[in-house]
């Protein structure tokens, strides 16, 4: 973590007192603080949370099984709203999955030293969120046993996929994103797994951590290539993360539907993704740092910086909402105009205003430093943002579809019990994975945080 890190550490000193690592932050303490969590029995809250998450995951399993055995008719999807909750949930989870790579890759390239406290955490969140996201389009295809048709695999029908379809772009974008995020995350984990391996007391732990640590010893010649690879992956992941939600937005924007067919979608979706992703990181980080004693590593300063990002992206999203209305009016296209008036004042007005309240209004509280640094406030706001961002996708998907070109087919969409079970169940999947991660893996990037301490830098002139 060459020049950049130091430069940023110095910059940090100028702009803000360094508080990235608090307390007695020598190298051994950092190792101990993070590793302890994975080495000791977790607090009771973990067991309760895990049991609940497993239960909800079971519900997801049953809902999905029922769906596969019966058919997509068990959902509320129907004409004209053929894209109901599954797509809403997909976009919601993919959006959340953006913060991790953004924090680890983009902030890395911008040499934001503060990312080290939260990057591991949010990368894990990214991966789990993308897993949840991938579930929805997969089960939405109906006949999930032929899902391999979406990949260019030779088949008995002698057919190839339609590469000009945004839905296929999605397949490639999301699976590439998942693969690269996983590589990035795992690569970051290796040195820390080696730390856990070297600290392990039992044979089985040593073996398990040892296998995944790949025999890492921290040799400098290895660090050299490792650092280079990390930089390259960051440079690759940055355009990738921007492309993924752009491609997701093409699913809508490339269609001809009023309310979807707009060029503003890609940047608007990306901003929304960062917004929701950061909110999710705050939602998770606040209880986790309290529960696992990581307050010194995930400090108030980290949270405050994230809240600033949330406020900024929240306003970007608000700008996009306004711009959509402006374009609907300015284009003079009466169908576009209708779609938007219908959005704000039609049958789904309630959803629209929930979205505006949660996404545009609540984050404004972060103009006050007190609010940015208040744990209860930020927790509540982050939950609001999560809700608001879910509703954003709901509003985009459902309000545009439910007023079809043929007024005779206009219809009001209502979810079914299975819709609910799948949405709630996906949180079960997410939290199960996340809690397992918290329990067994280093939640904070040990080696990277160490580079942010004075101990990592030479004090003689160089």
């Amino acid at each position: 973590m060459s020049n950049g890190e130091i430069a940023s550490a110095e910059l940090d000193n100028i702009i803000d007192p360094p508080a990235l690592v608090q307390g007695k932050a020598d190298l051994a303490t950092i190792t101990e603080t993070v590793s302890r969590v994975a080495e000791h029995k977790p607090p009771k809250a973990w067991y309760i949370g895990f049991a609940m998450a497993l239960g909800v995951l079971g519900m997801l399993g049953m809902a999905v099984l029922y769906l596969i055995a019966t058919g997509v008719g068990v959902w509320g999807n129907n004409q004209p709203v053929a894209w109901g909750w599954p797509i809403v949930n997909f976009v919601f989870w993919v959006g959340i999955g953006h913060a991790g790579t953004l924090i680890s890759a983009v902030l890395y390239l911008f040499r934001q030293g503060w990312r080290t406290g939260i990057n591991r955490f949010s990368e894990a969140m990214t991966i789990f969120a993308v897993i949840c996201a991938g579930l929805f389009p997969a089960i939405h295809v109906g006949r999930i046993w032929v899902i391999y048709w979406v990949f260019p695999i030779p088949n008995q029908m002698a057919m190839w996929p339609q590469f000009r379809s945004p839905l296929l772009w999605d397949v490639f974008a999301v699976s590439t994103y998942f693969t690269v995020s996983l590589l990035f995350w795992y690569m970051g984990l290796v040195p820390d797994l080696a730390t856990l391996r070297d600290r392990s007391k039992t044979k089985i732990r040593r073996l398990m951590y040892g296998i995944f640590a790949l025999g890492w010893t921290g040799a400098n010649r290895q660090w050299h290539r490792y650092e280079r690879a990390y930089l390259l992956l960051a440079a690759l992941a940055t355009p990738l993360v921007l492309s993924v939600h752009s491609v997701v937005s093409f699913d809508f924007a490339v269609s001809q539907l009023p309310g979807w067919h707009t060029t503003i979608f890609p940047p608007y979706f990306v901003a929304g993704a960062i917004f929701s992703g950061f909110a999710m990181v705050v939602t998770l980080a606040v209880p986790a740092r309290a529960l696992f004693g990581l307050r010194d590593l995930i400090t108030l300063r980290h949270l405050e910086l994230m809240n600033k990002v949330i406020m900024a992206t929240g306003m970007l999203v608000g700008y996009a909402y306004a711009m959509e209305f402006f374009m609907a009016w300015y284009s003079g296209n009466k169908y576009e105009g209708f779609a938007f008036v219908n959005r704000a004042f039609g049958p789904y007005a309630w959803a629209y205003w929930i979205m505006v309240t949660c996404n545009v209004i609540t984050p404004q509280i972060y103009w006050f430093k007190k609010a940015r640094r208040s744990i209860p406030i930020m927790f509540v706001v982050s939950i609001f943002v999560n809700i608001g961002m879910w509703f954003e996708r709901f509003v985009i998907t459902v309000t545009s579809l439910n007023r079809d070109f043929l007024p005779s087919s206009w219809n009001y969409f209502s979810p079914t019990v299975i819709d609910w079970a799948t949405l709630i169940g996906s949180f079960g999947l997410f939290f199960t994975l996340f809690l397992l991660f918290c329990r067994f893996l280093p939640q904070v990037a040990i080696a990277e945080v160490k580079t942010q301490t004075p101990h990592a830098h030479s004090h003689s002139a160089h």
Partner: protein, 505 residues
């Protein structure tokens, strides 16, 4: 594991970054090659201090990116434009912009995978075992201590000299690293389970390969039946769908295939347009009121105007579209103002609408009986707006061409009449204008060029043949299969041919 060990390296321990940096400089300057520093995190400046050369990793990434991108282009081009072209509303088979997203994703994917794996391979990882891990204190290399190890394999290595060099660097501790002759390997159970899992993964591939290159007599295995097995009627088998096993269902008592069919016997004139004797009704059998005409106008606008046009000249939007596409073999809807149509008894018009006529489909099932009569009534009014209809309506004298010269041969005169009643006139004019097909004026005796390249003279035999079998000889510029002929007796054909011959020029 044998107990025989030999020295592998000397290991020195340091406590701070500054110490390891200065130690690295000293060891580098002493000229050692096989040595390394071990740190809990990447240390800035250590690469320079050790003299580590820049890695070539980025070149691998670059090559992989180029490969991924080019493969993306090639794959999409071959799959979508060559091997299985997708025809999408007239768009080109191959248009790069729509393929860019996937090219981009593949570029990233290839680069990332290559970077990741190349880095580990270049780092000689994964490795099961490192001799350094036998030293207890070395565990802190991933915690808070810094180490430097010089391997015995280094040409400059000399047990005492190397050790004293390390001592000079200010090491806090120095230890010799021993390595057994046989280095530890992964436990047997691990190897075996990996082996079994690996072979297990090959099984599906082998099954696929086997199926790919073999034919089988047994029906395919249906893991998921989809809709391949539906209950359905099969020839010579009882139908599983009904209790009585019959596939063709008998008509239920009290039901009729068409709306009014059961009434035909009661009032054939009203329901078929023909009275008991088989003659067309001359007039509409319902009292024609203003409302009735209005109803007819409306039904005509809904059902007929798309083809025949609101004004009835046959240029409705369907026709306009077909003409603009220059559809081969398009039969234009008739101009309803033609004299022979205006002269038809109302029952005949009704029959044309009900049963369809030649290429026009019937409207029996789409328009109620009463409405069909209303349309007929309206047609009369519509035709009254044009010459032929008006003459018919107000009893004026028929136009010249419809009258046969008084001295005409009776056979020719019969043919002239049949030309209208058998509706040849719908396509073949008598005055040289081209309707759907060529005019009969001057046809006889002319030379016809056929599609097979030969030419024939339209003599009597040719005319007979063309009426009996319109597709026997196809004249250039015409499409086979279009001519629909009503039943014509041999006598009638004689008369028609005589009539056509009389139009010789």
């Amino acid at each position: 594991m044998s107990n025989n060990t030999k020295q592998f390296a000397v290991l020195a321990e340091y406590e701070t970054v500054d110490e390891i940096l200065s130690a690295a400089v000293k060891v580098r300057d002493a000229g050692y090659a096989k040595w390394d520093c071990y740190t809990p995190m990447p240390v800035h400046g250590l690469d320079d201090a050790m003299g580590v050369e820049q890695t070539r990793l980025p070149w691998f990434t670059l090559c992989a990116g180029i490969t991924g991108g080019s493969l993306g282009v090639l794959m999409q081009w071959w799959m979508n434009a060559v091997d299985y072209p997708f025809i999408t509303s007239g768009k080109p088979d191959w248009s790069l912009p729509a393929n860019i997203p996937i090219v981009f994703e593949l570029t990233i994917l290839f680069s990332a995978l290559t970077t990741f794996f190349a880095m580990w391979i270049m780092n000689n990882l994964p490795r099961w075992y490192s001799p350094l891990s036998r030293v207890k204190r070395f565990a802190r290399a991933t915690d808070d201590r810094f180490f430097l190890a010089i391997e015995t394999a280094d040409p400059l290595f000399d047990a005492s000299a190397t050790e004293s060099l390390l001592r000079e660097t200010g090491a806090h501790a120095i230890e010799s690293v021993e390595d057994p002759d046989e280095s530890p390997t992964p436990p047997i159970w691990l190897k075996h389970s990996l082996l079994i899992a690996g072979t297990g993964l090959l099984i599906p591939l082998m099954i696929i390969a086997y199926a790919r290159f073999n034919t089988q007599e047994a029906p395919r295995v249906h893991l998921v039946p989809d809709m391949d097995f539906q209950e359905k009627y099969k020839a010579q088998n009882p139908s599983p769908l009904f209790e009585d096993g019959r596939a063709a269902r008998a008509q239920l008592a009290g039901t009729f295939a068409f709306e009014d069919d059961h009434l035909i016997l009661e009032d054939p004139g009203y329901y078929t347009g023909k009275d008991e004797g088989g003659d067309y009704l001359a007039e509409v059998p319902i009292e024609v009121t203003r409302e009735f005409l209005e109803r007819g106008r409306q039904r005509y606008a809904i059902n007929c105007a798309v083809c025949h046009g609101y004004d009835g000249v046959g240029d409705g939007t369907v026709n306009q579209r077909a003409q603009s596409l220059q559809t081969a073999g398009w039969i234009p809807p008739s101009n309803l103002h033609q004299a022979y149509i205006a002269a038809q008894p109302k029952g005949q018009l009704f029959e044309s609408i009900t049963m369809g006529i030649r290429n026009m489909p019937g409207y029996k099932s789409a328009i109620t009986t009463e409405d069909r009569w209303a349309i007929v009534a309206y047609l009369e009014a519509l035709q009254g707006t044009q010459e032929a209809g008006a003459r018919q309506l107000w009893g004026a004298a028929p136009s010249v061409e419809e009258v046969s010269p008084s001295d005409e041969d009776p056979l020719v005169a019969k043919g002239r009449e049949l030309h209208t009643t058998k509706t040849c006139i719908a396509c073949h004019s008598l005055d040289g204008t081209t309707l759907v097909s060529g005019s009969f004026l001057g046809l006889a005796g002319s030379e016809r060029k056929l599609t097979d390249g030969t030419a024939v003279v339209a003599d009597e035999a040719y005319l007979h043949e063309s009426i009996m079998d319109p597709n026997a000889k196809i004249v250039e510029g015409y499409v086979p299969g279009l001519m629909v002929i009503p039943p014509i007796s041999d006598d009638e054909r004689e008369a028609l041919v005589a009539f056509i011959l009389s139009l010789k020029q």
